[in-house]
Symmetry: C2
Subunit: 363 residues, 2 copies
DNA sequence: TGCTCTGCTGTAAACGTTTCCGGGAGTCTG
DNA sequence: CAGACTCCCGGAAACGTTTACAGCAGAGCA
């Protein structure tokens, strides 16, 4: 009985003790063989055999306690249904996997307490580090970030003096690119469908929109500005409200999900896109190329930001004494059919029938 | 020196020893107070103060080693960019969160070795259990599932005798629903855009399509069947190939991403949807309602499957001795504008203009 | 043959926590 | 006032692993 307790774990699974006893060696030797370091040929054989016989699988928790590392990295984002995070995640994944670690994703649902709780719980050593992309940042939250027990990298805006590794973009300028493009195309009644103003990206985009209009000397008609959240349904509803009271000749949307919502609001209202209303989204996700007509969109370099964040994180894991760093990714505009009267979209050659140059969305 | 080593962790962070020493109590008392069990008012005060002063945060790894549980549950899916998994994930998340645990998501990218490696690594006790939705199942894989060290629930088809908790749907029948619907609407040249046949869902859908046509006495024209993978781009390309050589009056697609790809292939080729070609997707994700026209789609109850899988998992975590269980969720068809000549799609009331009762999809 | 050096091996300590158990102080009851 | 009972406390043993250290056998060399 006593021997049994010593040799297998509480739930009856074999431990290194079980293997060692069965192989007739000490646990030290067993551990060494299992880790592929040292051991005579004979010992190696015996331990390997014993391990296979009992179906030994190491307990990663115990190993982590000893080695002080788990080999796991976490990514916390607000809405995993937003393709921008999918792209970011893929970029992070490839960097993290290359370092022999695994990536875990956690969706916070935008509930800030959730996110803070995550930091307080998950970061208590379950992971070697984490990447967070918060859309709201409170003082509390910031405090949790600053004295996190594990390295943290933030993707997104942060107060200038926050001593936290940070990869950001300039979405203010990004919105400006969209407005510049539309103004250059002759649009003047430019509307804006945004997410909540109490979020960091929402506020930045709002500021960007206003300053861009001012720069062009266009007076802002408040009826052309509408707010929902950052998802499809709210974007569509917001666009519908906007269309019910104003006649824009262009719409800038705070992200691609909103833009798709706006596109459908426009189509349902019988507006032709881009002829009557031009449309520009933001984030330039794969979704932008999945609409018809395809969506012009401001790229905020989400994959690039993800890649850089992952690299910063790995560096910090390797050397905790690094000073806090900050990197910036410049926005750029991808012009597609939704905002050009001579669309760039070329239908794939399908039938011998003369492919129409103008998309048929509203045919 | 020796005292220091005893009181704080290797990287200099406070441990329960630090707190205990500072409060002048034993580590047992400190631990009890920290866990909110027992302790005199005076002890509680001292420990709380000491903990706050040194900024103590418990090491979850050490706690897990002792308690044999981590409070984490993992979900492994192939492609996190597929909205069907997003819906499943949301459903799982809410069940898991209600039990006080956290959900971690891992994208396997469909690489089967990756998935097996995940089981072998992550499941080595980093999580209390995991939900896996594999699209390919090899013997190796199955073996790893069966003797996983932690409870596993599989979402998807599995060999009948596999002793693993399993939540499945009947996508064969699901495809049948789509075909029935199209046949009833008078369509006869029904095409099919599928994913790879060496995947479990791909094979099931293929079988479902063939048997449904046979049931209706329609001879299958192989030129109307095309295969890509389960994502948008491949779906679009596959649909383009199909359209280049055949003239379907309807298309069934193996999932919604493929369907959106097919929709754009159709629009780009100048086909009117649904007038000339009706379209039915599969999974009934939110994406189906984000297209224009909105997409008819066969629901495979992904949220329901996720919910049930989470419940099975929690039950098994609570009682490992339960016999393997198997649950099934019935498919159903959501009919929308993409497959009905008198579309169900009603534009949201936007302008005072008399809202047309017949939607403008094809106006 | 005697010495050093090399290469394995086993003992035991650590990682940071929870928890069993025994002891001591205080309170209530008879 | 004695005894039983309650409550709180501290020591120490777990949880399963890695690893520093010391011992020991054998090989090579003088």
């Amino acid at each position: 009985m006593g021997r049994k307790r010593l040799q297998e774990s509480a739930d009856g699974r074999p431990t290194v003790h079980t293997v060692a006893a069965r192989a007739g060696v000490s646990i030290a030797s067993a551990s060494r063989v299992l880790n592929g370091v040292g051991g005579s040929p004979e010992t190696i054989r015996k331990v390997r055999e014993a391990a296979a016989e009992v179906g030994y699988v190491p307990n990663a928790i115990a190993r982590s306690l000893q080695s002080q590392r788990t080999g796991l990295v976490a990514l916390a984002v607000e809405d995993i249904g937003n393709p921008v995070y999918v792209e970011m995640m893929r970029a992070i994944e490839s960097v993290v996997a290359a370092s022999g670690r695994q990536l875990l994703v956690h969706a916070t649902g935008g509930r800030i307490d959730n996110e803070t709780a995550l930091l307080r719980r998950l970061a208590h050593r379950y992971v070697d580090g984490m990447i967070v992309s918060p859309i709201r940042v409170t003082d509390d939250h910031l405090a949790a970030l600053v004295d996190s027990p594990v390295p943290v990298v933030v993707v997104g805006q942060l107060p200038a003096d926050a001593p936290v590794d940070n990869v950001r973009t300039d979405s203010r300028t990004g919105v400006g690119l969209a407005v510049d493009h539309l103004v250059a195309a002759g649009r003047r009644r430019i509307g804006f469908v945004n997410g909540p103003l109490d979020t960091v990206p929402g506020a930045a985009r709002d500021a960007g929109f206003r300053s861009a209009l001012a720069r062009h000397g266009i007076a802002l008609d408040e009826r052309l500005v509408e707010i929902g959240d950052f998802r499809y349904a709210a974007g569509r509803a917001a666009a519908e409200r906007l269309l019910a009271r104003a006649e824009p000749d262009a719409l800038v949307c705070a992200n691609d999900l909103i833009a798709v919502g706006a596109l459908h609001a426009l189509l349902a209202a019988g507006r032709r896109v881009p002829d009557e209303v031009a449309l520009v989204g933001m984030d330039d996700t794969e979704l932008a190329q999945m609409t018809f007509p395809q969506l012009s969109s401001v790229s905020l370099g989400s994959a690039e930001r993800g890649r850089r964040a992952a690299e910063l994180l790995l560096q910090r894991i390797a050397d905790a004494s690094l000073p806090p760093r900050r990197e910036q990714v410049a926005p750029s505009l991808a012009v597609r059919a939704s905002s050009t009267t001579t669309p760039l979209f070329v239908p794939a050659p399908a039938e011998p029938a003369p492919a129409p140059r103008t998309p048929e969305v509203t045919a």
